[in-house]
């Protein structure tokens, strides 16, 4: 079966009668990633920035899992298999570690400045 | 069930699937809602008997068995008040978050062989993870209520539940290790036979860790003596101080649902699941293969066993609640971090070593070899063929009834 053309596939994406493809997951991952980046860029609250980071990592994870899934892989195509899932696991673990350190930094920042507004972390500004 | 609907009744595929899914969802919902009614009634009767009272006696004739239903109707009719400074959206959402978490965790809980909403390969983790979500509703409720008492309750609950998840997770891992599977159906199956096959009697370490699990489970569902989040003598009513009517009752349904859930988890992980202490069915010569009715009977018996064990757990929690004073927050944390966690860690290591040294369990020949690891896996190319654990069962969306 030939892959459908690009324009058509975007329409098909919303169709509930067709099975999903890897591209579906990639789009979801892209949206999560972009939302995370926007979150990091706009939020003044340090915790908001942290949440943005979590979203970005999560978006990447969606891609890993999608490529790893034998169910999503097209006929004859080889999925990433366990490797993708293992990497996704490591990403989750590292995200947890990152959150712990980031929270500790935020806490120290709050102790020194009585705020979590990252715009006020400008002590090193020339 | 889907097979039955499509082949016997002749429904089309999608209808059968939807119907099957709806039936299991409704059944689980009824387990929680109906269970909450029964357990609230039981709590009243148990507490009354403990305290030299009679409890409800009149509603619904004898024993006041309709009392909780009457209360439910009263709650339906009550006004849902919201404080002026509250965060409306979060305030309204919080009870449903709690309830949904409790409900979702039931999906992976097996009630008897094959009687499970969705047989999950990682059921144990799933249940623990989703149960942890319940605290989310509580924190939202405490924050959104715009009341200092509620905030205190929410913060206490957050600290407590997050801490107790550590030892709870360790306790849960031990049966997983013994069975070699995170599938609750498999774990329960491995404990079939006489009661000394139960994992609680597997070795001394599992026996100790069972009690650690009981402690942590009571703490993680916020029951006395760990009910700090709603400590009425300190925090008025804790996180649900500002709630009334139906929203308030959702919190209670979630609480009783979680109580039943952790008790059922204890039953599945340590107390043989749906296998009774005496393998009655086997002794009578029943098995899956004999006749048409035998599988149904076996499942019914298993259902009764599991619900009985879980209810016993709930009753014991009530007994504890009406007997003991409440701990203080620092003592609750000490219990978790200084006692439960180290004990659980040591017992985990001990159970692991025991598994290496004496894989059969305490009573020789009683236990069964655990683990899904096939011999072929370690041998190389040919291993692939023998590798995959049977994937047939876990694919069905709904398998409530055989």
């Amino acid at each position: 079966m030939m892959p459908p053309p690009l324009a058509l596939s975007s329409l098909l994406a919303l169709s509930v009668t067709e099975p999903v493809s890897v591209a579906h997951y990639l789009v979801v991952g892209a949206i999560l990633f972009t939302a995370g980046v926007a979150c990091m860029a706009t939020k003044r609250n340090a915790l908001g920035v942290l949440m943005g980071i979590e979203l970005v990592l999560n978006g990447a994870n969606v891609n890993f899992v999608a490529f790893a899934s034998p169910y999503l892989a097209a006929d004859g195509a080889r999925s990433l298999g366990l490797d993708g899932q293992a990497i996704a696991l490591f990403v989750i673990l590292l995200a947890a570690a990152e959150a712990a350190v980031a929270l500790a930094i935020t806490l120290n920042f709050y102790n020194n400045h009585a705020t979590v507004d990252v715009d006020r972390a400008d002590d090193l500004k020339g | 069930m889907v097979d039955f609907l499509t082949s016997t009744i002749g429904l089309s595929g999608w209808l059968a699937w939807t119907l099957a899914a709806t039936v299991s969802a409704v059944l689980i919902l009824n387990v929680i809602a109906g269970g909450a009614l029964v357990f609230i009634w039981a709590e009243r009767k148990v507490s009354a008997r403990i305290q030299d009272r009679l409890g409800p006696t009149r509603t619904g004739g004898r024993f006041g068995w309709l009392q909780s239903l009457a209360d439910g109707i009263k709650l339906l009719a009550k006004e849902d008040l919201m404080p002026e400074g509250a965060d409306g959206m979060l305030f309204r959402l919080a009870p449903y978050v709690s309830f949904c978490a409790s409900f979702c965790a039931f999906i992976a809980l097996p009630f008897a062989f094959d009687v499970v909403g969705q047989r999950l390969n990682v059921a144990v983790f799933f249940v623990v993870a989703v149960l942890g979500l319940e605290v989310f509703g509580v924190i939202l409720a405490g924050y959104a209520s715009a009341s200092k008492w509620s905030l205190f309750g929410a913060m206490r609950e957050a600290a407590q539940v997050v801490s107790y998840e550590v030892p709870l997770g360790m306790c849960v891992v031990v049966p997983v290790m013994l069975a070699g599977s995170m599938d609750m159906v498999t774990i329960a199956e491995k404990q079939a036979g006489w009661f000394w096959n139960w994992y609680v009697f597997h070795d001394p370490f599992t026996f100790v860790i069972f009690w650690v699990y009981v402690t942590c489970a009571v703490a993680s569902v916020n029951r006395a003596p760990f009910d700090l989040a709603e400590a009425e003598s300190e925090l008025v009513a804790g996180f649900h101080t500002e709630y009334s009517g139906l929203r308030w009752s959702y919190f209670f349904m979630a609480e009783y649902g979680s109580m039943f859930l952790v008790s059922a988890m204890a039953a599945v992980l340590f107390l043989g699941g749906w296998n009774g202490p005496i393998p009655v069915a086997t002794l009578l010569g029943f098995s899956e293969g004999t006749g048409d009715t035998a599988p149904y009977l076996i499942r019914l018996l298993g259902l009764a066993n599991l619900v009985g064990k879980a209810s016993l757990g709930v009753i014991i929690m009530m007994w504890i609640r009406w007997t003991l004073p409440r701990l203080r927050i620092d003592q609750v944390m000490t219990t978790c971090l200084k006692y439960c966690t180290p004990i659980a860690a040591v017992m985990f290591a001990g159970a692991m070593l025991w598994q290496i040294g004496l894989p059969g369990g305490l009573i020789p020949g009683a236990g069964r070899p655990g683990g899904e690891i096939r011999e072929g896996w370690l041998e190389g190319p040919g291993g692939r063929a023998a590798a995959p654990p049977a994937a047939d069962e876990s694919r069905d969306v709904a398998r409530v009834a055989p």
Partner: protein, 402 residues
């Protein structure tokens, strides 16, 4: 005090910038024993300051007293410490009798001891049960009330009222005991004696109870004296004072010939006249546990006194005599008398101008002084300790606000 906070091992000082929060505990709060309002200044769970606000139950009882005759004011004393109304009646009656230099008959004296000590048991039962409630255990409260009900039954038989008796009155008592009362009273004592052991199991020696009370709210001997504390609060700090032994002659004469040991820790141990549980490790003289324990000892002590008074009362011939007339004229002058009430030393002062009505009435309530130490005891404790401390002082708002 700053050093005491710094050295307190229970306080975990996080280096997090925190804001303090003012929290109103009461006047509508489940554990403030009526309408006490405590304003807590808290830093998270740690209480830095407690300020009691009183006056929500003020009823101008003293002013009313200037417009009634001496005997007409008796019902108003009932409503001061409504949990020990008999002892309030007794205090006022003795104060007036002191002014008149009146002496009641021997039989009335023994009956007064009997009734007052039963009232002390009833009051301590409420204090004990409510203290369990403050610490989060409900059942002992009902066990205590079950026994208190039996005492109230006895009182009802004797005087017709269950809460506000006005039984002991100026010049004696309003009526003699009905036939068979003494037997019923003795039956109650026999039945009650083993139950005290249950209270000890449920509360006094319960591990969680000890954890919650030991070392909490330590009231030093000096501070107790400086603040004018009295009753079990004072004796819990190791001060050997009991007005039944150390009071004024007119009051101690009432207990003439009665054998009892003051419930106080002397030379490192409590009286050894009965079997008591050992003092658990971790307790400090003057903490909540000792205040509670003194009350438990006094229950046993009062039971002894009741038994003695029953013997003496039945040995007396004749009648108890008639009380004074409702509008008896008093000699001009003033009198002040303190008696040992269950909550502490209750003093009544009256100035008479020679008419039937007192010119000035004043009540010195023990709960008022006992409550005054709350800010000292609660500084730097946790929120959960506040009900524990306030409960251990066993205050009654009716007596504080009058």
């Amino acid at each position: 005090m700053a050093n005491a906070i710094e050295d307190d091992p229970r306080i975990i000082e996080f280096d997090v910038r925190t804001d303090e929060m003012l929290v109103n505990m009461g006047p509508q709060h489940p554990s403030t024993h009526g309408v006490l309002r405590l304003v807590l200044r808290t830093d998270g769970e740690i209480v830095s300051e407690v300020e009691p606000h009183i006056g929500y139950l003020h009823r101008c009882a003293e002013k009313i007293g200037e417009n009634l005759t001496h005997r007409q004011w008796i019902p108003y004393t009932d409503r001061m410490d409504y949990l020990a109304a008999m002892n309030m009646n007794l205090g006022w009656s003795l104060a007036v009798e002191k002014l008149m230099k009146y002496e009641v008959s021997e039989k009335a004296r023994h009956l007064r001891v009997l009734i007052a000590e039963l009232g002390r048991i009833a009051s301590h039962l409420v204090g004990m049960g409510a203290y369990g409630l403050d610490l989060g255990t409900f059942s002992p409260f009902l066990y205590a009330f079950r026994e208190r009900e039996k005492i109230l039954d006895l009182f009802e038989e004797a005087c017709g009222a269950r809460l506000t008796y006005s039984y002991i009155t100026i010049g004696g008592l309003t009526a003699d005991l009905p036939p068979g009362w003494l037997q019923r009273c003795e039956a109650f004592l026999d039945q009650f004696e083993p139950i005290i052991q249950e209270y000890h199991t449920l509360l006094t020696t319960n591990a969680i109870f000890v954890k919650r009370t030991a070392g909490v709210g330590v009231l030093s001997r000096d501070m107790a004296i400086e603040y004018g504390c009295s009753g079990p609060v004072l004796r819990g700090s190791g001060v050997d004072q009991d007005l039944r032994r150390d009071g004024e002659a007119i009051y101690t004469a009432m207990y003439d010939g009665y054998a009892f040991e003051v419930a106080v820790q002397k030379d490192g141990h409590y009286p050894r006249d009965h079997e008591y549980p050992a003092v658990p490790a971790g307790t400090v003289l003057g903490d909540c546990w000792h205040r509670f324990f003194v009350r438990m000892l006094e229950v046993v002590q009062s039971m002894d006194l009741v038994r003695q008074s029953i013997d003496r009362y039945s040995a007396c011939k004749g009648t108890i005599g008639e009380p004074l007339k409702l509008a008896e004229k008093m000699p001009a002058g003033d009198a002040y008398l303190e008696t040992e009430c269950p909550k502490g030393q209750m003093g009544f002062y009256l100035v008479s101008d020679g008419s039937a009505k007192p010119w000035r009435v004043r009540a010195r309530s023990s709960s008022f002084s006992n409550l005054a130490v709350t800010p000292e005891l609660c500084r730097g404790c946790l929120i959960a300790d506040v009900p524990a401390v306030v409960g251990s002082l066993d205050i009654v708002m009716g007596e504080i606000d009058r």
